[in-house]
């Protein structure tokens, strides 16, 4: 049934999956670890750029054909024809992009934060990461050989070999949601492990954590590697979803969106963060669909701006009246607690 409702649902769930991964990774970094990552977009973008590079360079090699110039129309046509005729190569390229993006983003996250995490004041880390995001965008959009500068590069969906477009987006949505669910389970396990408790101790009292012999610089580095790698995965998923890698998608407001999801839903509460992602997706998709609908009737282009005003006001309201989010952090219930409660 190729009806608009179904495709709206598929697009909603796909965006939700991507937003959920981003916000869960920021929740791990800031909600649990107290590391203010104001450069989330840098790692999200890294993932997308890796996807662009892999799809344009590695794909012909995987499919074993002579590559054309990746940014020429012939190169684009070649990618599309490989995808349609060789499902194995298409899926392998996608898998390679995911693995490489996680690796590159993770390493990038560590390198960028290397100097800043050595300074006690986390404000420096926030500033360095924010600035890195913008440098990356400006450089990639100016330097042609990466993803064709500001022209961007087309990358075909890994399920491009399926018969009709509804099937393609449905299959891809399932992949996004599967990855999002496994990341959710992974982060839930992680924050309930000794590492998770270490993160919380770092967030709540650095001096106390250090006095117990914890190497906080190391922990900060680790949490930023994990968070950045996850954001890189989200970047690949987004790039393949939109079918197009464009450096100008990755403006600092994207970082702010992720912060809104985390703060809105509830810091250090993964369920709350998922709720935040749902709300954010609803605002994002809702205004988008409304804008397209209105444009076909009357032509009000300014509705896109309204989205940002809504998000900004939402953030201010939540900071003002419900600082701990809709679903606040829950106290940890250990087995010992249950024994005490039971008596």
């Amino acid at each position: 049934m190729p009806d608009p409702l179904l495709s709206a649902c598929v697009s909603f769930l796909s965006y939700f999956g991507i937003f959920a991964i981003l916000s869960l990774s920021l929740n791990l970094e800031y909600g649990f670890g107290g590391q203010p990552n104001f450069g989330k977009v840098a790692f999200y973008a890294t993932g997308a750029f890796v996807a662009g590079v892999v799809a344009s360079r590695l794909m012909p090699i995987i499919a074993d054909v002579t590559p054309f110039d990746p940014f020429s129309p012939e190169g684009t046509m070649q990618r599309i024809s490989i995808t349609q005729n060789n499902p194995c190569a298409a899926l392998l390229t996608f898998l390679a992009a995911l693995l490489l993006a996680a690796l590159v983003s993770g390493v990038f996250g560590y390198l960028v934060s290397y100097p800043a995490i050595r300074i006690r004041e986390e404000w420096f880390l926030a500033m360095v990461l924010l600035v890195t995001g913008e440098i990356l965008r400006v450089v990639v959009r100016s330097y042609q050989p990466i993803v064709n500068g500001y022209n961007g590069v087309l990358i075909p969906n890994p399920f491009g070999w399926l018969k009709d477009s509804d099937q393609i987006s449905l299959a891809y949505m399932i992949v996004i949601l599967a990855i999002a669910v496994s990341i959710y389970l992974y982060i839930n396990r992680l924050v309930n492990s000794p590492f998770g408790r270490l993160l919380k101790s770092m967030r709540d009292d650095q001096i106390a954590a250090m006095s117990l012999g914890k190497d906080l610089v190391r922990v900060r580095g680790q949490v930023l590697i994990i968070g950045s790698a996850l954001a890189g995965l989200a970047g690949v998923l987004y790039a393949y979803y939109s079918g197009y890698v464009n450096p100008d998608d990755f403006i600092p407001i994207r970082t702010f969106d992720v912060w809104v999801m985390v703060v809105l839903g509830g810091l250090a509460n993964n369920k709350g963060v998922l709720l935040g992602a749902v709300i954010m997706t609803a605002i994002d998709r809702g205004t988008q669909i409304l804008a397209i609908q209105l444009q076909t009737i009357g032509g009000i282009t300014e509705l896109n701006y309204l989205r940002y005003i809504i998000v900004g006001i939402l953030m201010l309201v939540i900071l003002m009246f419900k600082q701990r989010g809709i679903i606040p952090e829950r106290p940890v219930r250990t087995p010992a607690y249950e024994v005490v409660e039971g008596e």
Partner: protein, 311 residues
């Protein structure tokens, strides 16, 4: 060879003095209120548009600057009273305030866009007549250069005198230095913060108006300038006023003179220009996180060792 150096040096000083005005406001809120105010960008934009609107009525430049000062000071003051102060009273941490200022900036920016887009004000110059009085290298010298540079310069000097010679300036510095100690000595910290916001907003407005007169006004003007301004503040050591002044001029120089040099000698494209302030921030944070403070005489008196708030 010499004429293009002279030309870009002139532009460097001009842009540098405007950056300094913008950065001084940011330093003021950063040190007195302890808030890295991202909405500072929108104060600059508002100043730029006030200059455009005032030029519709009269082409008097001093009127435009005065109006820009007053309107933006009021906007900054209301932001403080409506958003930042209530938040601080609820025990907000610095990151909460940063997020709030980012949100506030976003709301203001897109409200301006919402207004400017249908009215055709997306990229506009104030209707102030200008004359070309000379060309040095590739830099066209307009008559507004001749007075806007001294204006910016005089404002910087006035602010410096205000902070170093007057009683209210002394109070501001003491609040910046140690808020508890200032309170104990009987300084009305709330009032000092009000004054700082008025001043910071006004400075941003004047700088925005100057920018609009020299270049153009657009809803993104402040946002594009903000990271350069942050670079100036970081260079200056975050909370030092004299450091910020030097930082503003260094950023101005590196974005113009150094960029021109890189372009001529190494063929670096001008599209990379936005990287320069970012690179400066990263280098300063790597090499000398305290900025230029300590390299300058007396700068120690004006700084706080830490910018962290509460817990």
């Amino acid at each position: 060879m010499l004429d293009w150096i002279a030309g870009s040096l002139l532009r460097s000083i001009l842009v540098g003095s405007i950056y300094t005005l913008m950065a001084l406001g940011l330093t003021l809120t950063l040190s007195v209120v302890r808030l890295p105010n991202f909405a500072h960008a929108e104060l600059i934009t508002i100043g730029a548009y006030v200059a455009v609107l005032s030029s519709l009525v009269s082409s008097d430049i001093s009127l435009a600057l005065l109006l820009a000062f007053m309107v933006t000071a009021l906007v900054a003051f209301s932001c403080h009273r409506l958003v930042y102060r209530p938040l601080s009273n609820r025990g907000a941490t610095m990151y909460t305030l940063v997020l709030a200022s980012f949100a506030l900036g976003l709301v203001l920016r897109y409200i301006i866009l919402l207004w400017a887009s249908p009215t055709g004000y997306l990229q506009i110059r104030p209707l102030i007549p200008q004359r070309v009085i000379g060309v040095i290298g590739s830099t066209v010298i307009l008559d507004i250069f001749v007075w806007s540079l001294p204006t910016a310069f005089v404002l910087v000097v006035l602010l410096h005198l205000l902070l170093s010679r007057t009683k209210i300036g002394k109070m501001m510095r003491s609040v910046a230095n140690n808020i508890t100690l200032a309170q104990i000595t009987g300084i009305n910290v709330g009032r000092i913060q009000d004054v700082s916001w008025l001043l910071a907003g006004g400075l941003a407005g004047v700088a925005g108006a100057l920018w609009a007169i020299l270049y153009y006004a657009s809803p993104y003007v402040g946002w594009f300038a903000l990271l350069s301004v942050f670079a100036a503040v970081v260079l200056g050591g975050l909370t030092s006023f004299s450091g910020t002044i030097v930082g503003g001029f260094i950023v101005g120089l590196s974005e113009n003179l150094v960029m021109d040099l890189l372009n001529r000698s190494f063929g670096v494209e001008f599209t990379y220009k936005p990287v320069i302030p970012f690179a400066l921030i990263i280098i300063v944070l790597l090499v000398r996180p305290k900025g230029l403070v300590g390299l300058l005489p007396r700068a120690k008196l004006l700084t706080r060792s830490s910018t962290k708030v509460g817990g």
